[in-house]
Subunit: 246 residues, 2 copies
DNA sequence: CCGAGCTTGTGCACGCGTTCTCAAAGTGTG
DNA sequence: CACACTTTGAGAACGCGTGCACAAGCTCGG
């Protein structure tokens, strides 16, 4: 398949815009969400191994490195286009480039963290984000005692200045690390300030309008899921094969 | 759902996995994984609202509180048994009890954290875990400068004492917050010491033997997924309504 | 005791994701 | 060029999860 061109680059025409089909400059087909979630795994696997000196990598090898099924790797990559060569494998450099383009890793994303408590500080200090183009540029908190405090080379900004600072830095991605009670309000303010992607650590149901993405990470829930299966095992069940990739 | 599953452990042990039925003392039927992941949501929703004075709650109301579909709530709860009353709803207290029993929240789980860096410290200081019966009892790190250091009312223990301390405290659940490079080795040591559930924050593929559960939380991947959809939106696509329960 | 009004529990259809499988398409050797 | 070997790409089958729709079952007022 894959007949109608990946060739036709450039911004997609208005005619192509459909509700359920994702037509973009980079890829012509809809990429399943499960695949999107695995692309970072492939990216990381390709980056980490010294495989880059080798020109090509097979789906089998990549599957092994990423910890998934080989058929899945092939199907996932086929959504990006036919980048492989039969009998040979995938060109490592090219694949890396395509994946990072697809994930938006070729550009920098300014990020804001709201709620500079235990977790927010840990995130602010984390060096791993920058490597993927996620630059934490703004730290926001409501606690007056914290405002102005220096963390790394950033100074904590008051929640009152949220709108201004978020706009100034052109923030598209916000990280929410406030207590649960403040989550919805802060999310609303972020959205109002132009943020369209939110990563939420607060254990609270929290809704955002159409056109804004929100992903939740709830560590307590993760523990409870582990506890569930732990309990089963103790009472004679078998372990669940499950493992999540964010 | 999100369901971003990756099989793990031994090579190609996929086929036989699904076969086994989960029959335990507590519930007669197999509970789907997606349901297990939502039970904590229901639990939290029930605990948070003042709904407890009200004797019963309808699936519709609970769905609203938990941010899911009402039919889903009913189906999920039906896996636990027929605890509802038609025309009335679910008895709140009883439902809470059943869910917490199913999730193993009626008992205490001693937890160990390995890797007391930025993230490990945040987790160690977090008060939210204890409320669900997850008691962080052991902090472990390899850095000699950190060993003996006091965090909260716990003292950091050397990685050399991992086996002994984990056994002494009867730890079943371990949290892995070391750098990626050390993840597999630490996981192996935890498993060797008797840990059968691991929550892994290190961005690394990491395998555990059959009979051990492992869940991964990779924050960088979450950001990359957000970035993917953010990029699409910019180029004219529609936003994905997606939000993870997990 | 009956009927109106709710709410649960579940059968069912549908869509998504996974994985098996194999033809197609490449490489390399003699 | 023929042939053996490798590896991709995709068709197809299957299983899981979701959500609609509705009968079964409960309460309550009269
Ligand atoms: N720390 C962890 O390991 C951990 C684990 C799981 C979940 N969480 C969740 O992450 C969130 C943060 O946890 P934490 O331990 O960092 O909490 P924390 O109390 O240490 O920090 C919360 C911070 O948010 C700030 N804040 C409160 N209201 C605010 C508002 N309206 N606007 C801006 N800032 C505001 C507070 O001043 C504080 O600095 C919580 O929702 C918590 O449940 C944390
Ligand atoms: N901090 C964050 O916000 C964040 C975000 C995403 C992912 N992560 C991941 O979480 C993990 C921890 O992150 P961090 O920021 O806390 O890192 P960190 O470097 O601050 O802490 C790591 C700790 O692990 C200890 N350690 C190293 N090797 C060890 C071993 N073999 N046994 C026991 N302890 C060992 C180190 O002494 C250090 O104290 C990393 O894998 C990181 O990629 C962290």
């Amino acid at each position: 398949m894959h007949k109608l061109g990946t060739l036709q680059a450039g911004p997609c025409s208005a005619a192509e815009r459909r509700k359920d089909i994702w037509v973009t400059a980079s890829s012509r087909r809809r990429i399943p969400e499960a695949t999107v979630a695995r692309l970072p795994l492939y990216y990381r696997a390709l980056m980490e191994t010294g495989e880059r000196q080798v020109a090509t990598i097979s789906s089998e090898r990549l599957a092994e490195l990423a910890g998934v099924n080989a058929a899945k790797v092939r199907k996932d990559l086929s959504y990006l286009g036919s980048y492989g060569t039969r009998g040979v494998g995938y060109d490592v450099e090219y694949l890396l480039h395509e994946i990072s383009r697809e994930l938006g890793l070729t550009r920098d994303w300014p990020v804001a963290i709201v709620g500079i408590g235990n977790l927010g500080r840990a995130l602010a200090n984390y060096r791993g984000f920058g490597a993927r183009g996620f630059r934490v540029e703004v730290l926001i908190d409501a606690d007056p005692a914290l405002v102005g405090h220096q963390i790394g080379d950033l100074s904590v900004v008051s929640i009152d200045d949220l709108d201004r600072v978020v706009r100034e830095h052109n923030i598209a991605i916000g990280i929410l690390a406030t207590p649960a009670g403040a989550a919805q309000e802060v999310a609303d303010r972020l959205v109002a300030a132009g943020v369209t992607s939110i990563l939420n650590f607060a254990p609270a149901v929290c809704s955002v309008p159409e056109g804004v993405s929100m992903r939740k990470v709830d560590l307590a829930i993760e523990l409870q899921i582990l506890s569930f299966y732990q309990l089963r095992r103790g009472t004679g069940g078998t372990a669940p094969p499950r493992e999540r990739t964010g």
